[in-house]
Amino acid sequence: MAGKHFLSLAEIDSLQRAKGVMDSIAYSLRSPMAQLLLVTRDAPPGDGICVRSTQLCPLTWKPYSQSVNIPLDDERVVRNLTAPGAECVLAEPTRDQLRATTICGQRAPDGICEAAIARLKLCKSLYVDVPSIDDCPVNLECVVDHVERYHTHAIAFTRVVGASIDDSYLFKERGEIISIFPTNVVDDVLDANGNVQRRVSLLRDIHPCPEFPYAQKSGWGDDFNNWMSDLRDERYLSTAEYELLLAWRKRWDELYLSRDSSERVTLKTRLTEASRLIVQGRWARLHDYLDEFA
C-alpha cells in the first residue's frame, strides 16, 4: 500500500497562494470539474446580458438540476441569480473555445456583454428568456430555484426546463464527444512571467463497469432480492441457495437494530462473504460456502 501524506484542516486552508493560485497538492485534492458558461440577464435597472465561466456541481436527474457557484463579490451575477423568477442558461464550451472561456472568466463593466468581447454568438432560447450561446454544442435552459449564500460563494440551484444541441454533434459517439467537450477546470498555474494561466482537461478513456451476473440485470439501483432472483433464473444459484440467501437477508433485516445479537454478527459475516464471492464470480467457492449451511 502506498505511503500516505496527511493534511490537517489548518494545512488544507493554507494551501492558497498569491493571485488565487494554490499549491500543487491542493489541486490534487480536487477533481477537475466541468467548465460551463453561465448566461444571465441583468436584473433591472440593468439592461444587458452577462456571461461567466463557472463550474457545475451535479444535483438530481429527475428533475434535472445542478448547482453553480458564484463568488459573492461578483455582484452582477449574484444580483441576476437572486432576482425574482431568475433564469439562466448553462452552455458547454468546447476545447476550441478556451480563449472565449477565459474572456468570460473576467467581469466586464455593467452593461457590457462578455460574449460580445469573446466573439460568441447569442441566440434565442426556447424555454427561458435568457439567450443561449449558438457556438456551444449544448445549452441547458434553466430556472433558478434557490440561491444559498455559503462561505465565499452564492450557490445557485438551477433546474433544467429545456435544452438545445448543435445537430452536428448528434451522431458522435461518446468517446469522441468527451474529447471535445466539456472541458474540466484542472488548476491555475503561474507562467514564466508570473501571470496566472488556467489549465483544463478532457476525458479520454472509457471503462465499462461490470454487469450481470456481477450486478443486477437492470444495472444499478435495483433490490438485492431481485439480483438473487436474476442469479437463480440464470442458474448461477440453485433454488435452495437462492432461498437460503433470502432467508439470511430477511432475518438480517429483523435483527438489524439488535446490535448485541450474536446471530446478527454471524449473519453479517455470511451475507458479506456470499456477496463477495458473487461479485468476484467465484461460483464454485460460493456453492461450497452455501453448502455448509444447507
Binding site: S67, G162, R198, R204, F224
Partner: protein, 293 residues
C-alpha cells in the same frame, strides 16, 4: 448546422433520432461527466459502516467545501441526515472501476460494501469513519448544511476537515495525476436485458488556456478594468489609450439612450480587439474613436 431543442420531458425520456441505435446516446450529450466518489459513512443507530459510490462537485476553495447529492432512501443519506455527521469522500482511481461499481450495488443495509469489494479501510485522523487505502485521495468531512431537493434528494454541503493523499503523487506532473484519478461517470450503456452498464471515464489530455495579454495577469474572476491596467503596465496600451478607454467605461455607467449604446459599442469593440490580441486594430480604434468623440 442547426440546433435541436428539447423540452425537459423529452430530454428525460431519452430522445431518439433516426439512425441512432444507442437509446442513451443523445440523452447523455446533455449530461456532462461528473467526478465519481466513494462515500464512507456510519449508521448512527448501529455503528455499521456504509460504502456507496456517487458523484460530487466543488463548492468553495477556502474553506475547502464540496457538495454531495444523495437520494433520500439509500443508507448513506440516512447516515448523514444531521449537521455535524462525519464521512469520508474517497476519490477512486481508474484501477478501481469494479470496486466503484460494487459501491453502487443495493446490498442490505449494514453490509459494508468495501468489505465485499475487498478494499482496505484507512484509519482517519480527524473523523470517526475510515477512508479507503486503495484510493489516492481521502477527504475527511463534516456535514455543514443540508437542503432537501424536490422531495427525494438531499444536497449536502461538506467541510473538508482533513485529507490524505498518496505520497507518490506529490512530485508528479498534473497530467499524470489526473490520468490516474478521479474517474468520472460518463454515461450508461444498455445491456442485453435493457438494463444499464455504467461507464467511467478518466482524464487524458491537459490544455493551457490563453492568459495575459488575452486576460488580466491575475486570470479568472478579475474585473476587466484590472486587465486594462495590466495592458498599460506592460505597454500594450499607451497612457492616452488607457485613459480614453477608462473614461468610456466610467461614462458608460451613467450614460443613457443613444450615448450609452454608442459607448457600449466602443468599449465592447476595444476589449474585443484586446482579447483577441489585435493590437494594431485596437490602437486604430482608440485613436479614431477618440478623435471623433
Amino acid at each position: 448546422m442547426g440546433r435541436l431543442f428539447y423540452g425537459i420531458d423529452e430530454l428525460l425520456k431519452q430522445p431518439s433520432f433516426p439512425g441512432i441505435k444507442d437509446p442513451t446516446l443523445v440523452h447523455y450529450h446533455f449530461r456532462p461527466a461528473r467526478p465519481a466518489n466513494l462515500l464512507i459513512s456510519r449508521d448512527p443507530e448501529t455503528g455499521d459502516l456504509n460504502f456507496a459510490s456517487g458523484t460530487y462537485g466543488p463548492l468553495t476553495d477556502r474553506p475547502y467545501t464540496i457538495c454531495l447529492h444523495l437520494h433520500s432512501s439509500p443508507h448513506s443519506a440516512r447516515n448523514l441526515a444531521a449537521v455535524g455527521a462525519e464521512c469520508v469522500v474517497a476519490l477512486p482511481g481508474k484501477d478501481l472501476v469494479r470496486e466503484t461499481w460494487i459501491g453502487a450495488l443495493s446490498l442490505p443495509r449494514g453490509i459494508f460494501e468495501a468489505d465485499v469489494a475487498e478494499l482496505t479501510p484507512l484509519p482517519s485522523q480527524v473523523v470517526g469513519v475510515p477512508g479507503i487505502a486503495e484510493c489516492p485521495v481521502n477527504l475527511e468531512c463534516r456535514v455543514e448544511f443540508i437542503r432537501e431537493l424536490y422531495g427525494r434528494t438531499q444536497a449536502l454541503f461538506l467541510r473538508v476537515v482533513g485529507a490524505t493523499i498518496d505520497e507518490e503523487l506529490l512530485g508528479r506532473d498534473r497530467l499524470s495525476v489526473i490520468g490516474e484519478f478521479p474517474t468520472y461517470e460518463v454515461d450508461d450503456a444498455t445491456n442485453i436485458w435493457g438494463g444499464s452498464i455504467e461507464r467511467l471515464g478518466v482524464n487524458g489530455e491537459l490544455l493551457a488556456a490563453p492568459n495575459f495579454p488575452a486576460c488580466a495577469k491575475a486570470g479568472f474572476n478579475t474585473d476587466m478594468t484590472e486587465w486594462v491596467a495590466d495592458l498599460l503596465a506592460e505597454d500594450y496600451l499607451s497612457e492616452a489609450e488607457s485613459a480614453r478607454l477608462n473614461t468610456w467605461i466610467r461614462d458608460l455607467a451613467t450614460a443613457s439612450g443613444e450615448i450609452r449604446d454608442e459607448l457600449r459599442e466602443r468599449v465592447t469593440h476595444a476589449l474585443r480587439l484586446a482579447a483577441w490580441e489585435q493590437w494594431d486594430h485596437l490602437h486604430a480604434h482608440l485613436r479614431a474613436t477618440g478623435e471623433g468623440g
